[in-house]
Symmetry: C2
Subunit: 446 residues, 2 copies
């Protein structure tokens, strides 16, 4: 159903004059909005078309060609104690980009953004970024240590952590390298691969500041915390104490109502709202309080921004304001002219999304989209806007503004500062070309 192709609607599912008029005419009965589909209904049949169009009549005139699901007895409750999506959705998967990495353990899978709705990412489709593969760690054996500049170093079991005061909050997580293949030119065809290192969940856990206080951390001189993961990559990242002190940084065990998934660091991961995903250390086993940045491998060699002058920027971990239209998007196919709901996602590592403007003419004119509520800080925001496609080539873009006033840049603006040799922190405006054939392609405007 939702596999990335927009299928053909009846011919008169078209309204060059705009949606408002179509709706008004429909209300007044002067126009049949979807006439092609209504031949049967117009004859006055009270029986739904679904019933008419279904299973063959098995000879009993009383059965009236009812489909099997209307005639029969369905499946039992709790057929699955933990349910699965419909078999018709099996094409909606997170996927690895073939050839992107040399191993499948130090690699990425991308979330199918073009098939998703709202702001919650189903945990089964959450993007993955592993540095040494994923593990399913026994939580009864897992320990979490707080040490460094603390009065009493402490080690917590999961049970101890889960008895402490908890909070639940919705936040996006984006890999710093999301859209990273697009710096120089168009590299991949679909929204899944351009923007799919992005997901959003409701996280539950203990504010890290609570745990530091329990250990008697030196919150005055201890200006940085090192977070360390327990998998083979021993991921270590520096988190500034200012961020922790705000209470935003969580030691999380819950995600979208249940325990974290193994691929997301079960049983414990750091949640660092607004910051690139690599700092959300998975399989979290230790935090150490210190008085200076730790300069770990993954913040000095990787996850730095190569600038045009050959130097690199470091500790630029906040994900700036960004957005992307997810439908229509690259790889999809509009099979006729007429009305479409343009929809997409916007987010900012600095706070809330204030506004999303959408263009269908490559940025010459813009209309402001409708934001779905709730609009939350450092969280995905879903936007929607009406569009009537006239069948001519169109370039669709979205441009987000956050509540600091920061406006998402064009590629021209971004490259003027950053050049084209970076991997990380590409938040430029994305362009999708709708060709006359209805095919949607990834393009970059010069």
């Amino acid at each position: 159903m939702n596999s990335g192709r927009l299928r053909k609607a009846p011919e008169n599912f078209i309204a060059r004059d705009g949606v408002a008029r179509v709706f008004a005419e429909a209300r007044n009965g002067r126009r049949d909005f979807l006439r092609g589909a209504f031949a049967a209904a117009a004859a006055g049949a009270a029986l739904p078309a679904a019933a008419q169009a279904a299973a063959p009549n098995d000879g009993d005139p009383n059965i009236l060609n009812l489909p099997e699901h209307t005639r029969g007895l369905g499946q039992a409750v709790a057929t699955d104690g933990y349910g699965k999506p419909s078999k018709y959705e099996r094409n909606v998967q997170r996927r690895q980009s073939p050839g992107l990495t040399q191993t499948t353990q130090a690699s990425v899978s991308f979330a199918p953004l073009q098939s998703l709705f709202g702001i919650v990412t189903p945990s089964g489709l959450h993007f993955e970024r592993h540095h040494q593969g994923w593990w399913d760690i026994d939580p009864s054996k897992h320990r979490f240590m707080v040490n460094g500049m603390v009065k009493n170093a402490k080690v917590f079991t999961m049970d101890e952590l889960m008895r402490l005061p908890a909070v639940s909050r919705f936040h996006f997580i984006e890999c710093g390298a999301n859209t990273g293949m697009e710096w120089g030119n168009v590299a991949v065809p679909t929204c899944q691969y351009t923007h799919g290192m992005l997901s959003c969940s409701e996280f539950t856990g203990v504010p890290l500041i609570t745990l530091l206080e329990l250990a008697g951390a030196d919150l005055k001189n201890g200006r940085f915390v090192l977070a360390e993961g327990g998998d083979g990559s021993s991921m270590t990242r520096t988190i500034p104490m200012s961020m922790i002190r705000s209470g935003e940084v969580l030691v999380a065990y819950g995600q979208n109502g249940e325990m974290l998934r193994p691929e997301q660091g079960y049983p414990l991961r750091l949640v660092v709202p607004g910051v690139q995903g690599v700092s959300w250390v998975k399989y979290l086993r230790r935090v150490e309080v210190g008085d200076q940045p730790y300069g770990a491998k993954d913040e000095t060699v990787h996850y730095v921004d190569l600038m045009p002058d050959g130097q690199h920027r470091q500790y630029t971990s906040i994900q700036e304001c960004k957005s992307v239209v997810t439908t229509p998007s690259g790889g999809q196919q509009l099979l006729d002219k007429g009305f479409y709901n343009i929809t997409g996602l916007a987010w900012s590592g600095r706070g809330k999304v204030k506004k999303v403007d959408v263009s269908v003419d490559g940025g010459r004119s813009w209309r402001t989209a409708r934001l779905e509520t709730p609009v939350l800080s450092k969280c995905l925001t879903r936007f929607n806007i009406d569009w009537v496609w006239d069948g001519k080539p169109a370039i669709i873009q979205s441009r987000a503004t956050d509540d600091t006033g920061y406006v998402q840049p064009t590629y021209r603006q971004l490259r003027a500062v950053r050049g084209t040799r970076s991997i990380y922190h590409n938040n430029a405006i994305q362009s999708w070309l709708v060709e006359e054939s209805g095919e949607v392609k990834n393009v970059q405007l010069s």
Copy 2:
């Protein structure tokens, strides 16, 4: 981990004097909050206890007893294109109450509320209520009709519906019979079975009013809409036009970011915020506009409230303000005294939750809990509050107030009006008895 038992923490995980003092003392280094667990750490070892406590040393002194997940290479990305929970969480399931119904097709499975966090219910654990079993209907064959008092009856394909203006909103859904077994006395031991016909999701779909307008519905004289499902139960329910006109009622295809699950009516269900689940018609195939209530079987014979005078109340479909503590709750076991995070859920079919009070002494005294944000209309709200258990018997209750000022009633108050012979719409305050042994039991105060 999260299977409903709260495991033993060190002995001095206790603070009769309250959490604030424990935290202050920890900060000042005068008290070791979790001393028992910190023996190893106190020796100054920099190596996490997780590492020390793990796999046997295989003879190589450099390996330092590191656990396998720190030494080895993990599993590949996209091992599952659609991921699953940890194997250690396999006990967290939705479950049927044995013997509650005569068949497993016309039955119920309950969500494991005692194991969930935040407000989003994982779709795999969403409660089920089927009247004739569930189906996985081919969406390319599904049709949705609008007829009755309309200028032009219409039939929509899924593709047509999914091109129309969409909205996304978080709402709870509660079966009208939730907590229905508890009218007369304590019937079931756990929160899963007392309150588990309750779930909450982000729904995406088209406002029903949009579809009625497209069909040129008579919105003045057409005061009611009949919604009809396509499964064997042919569920039919009357929805007042006043509710639809507000734009709240959705014809939904999306749930928690993906397409509806088959058990939840894939590919189309009605979303009627604040109203009992039976009106959220699954496998939705038709709505008919009429000028009076339809008096369908499931609103005249079932889902009515038997009153003490022998008459029954009808069309009482809005789920009034209610709450429940999910931890600690019936069937759980507190294995020691000390600090606990009391947590639970509150909701109202009339609007937002304004306040949740919690008592640990059976309602003699109350403290106001902290509400997690966002607090949304007709949506679950997560509350948390600190508690230090002194090891004596305690009765834990929560009492929600919504933004209309309505206060959740006691059993005494509810029964004074409704008697004890109802099945539906029990929103009384739930009591959990913590015995000296730490065992938590479902009790009712007279």
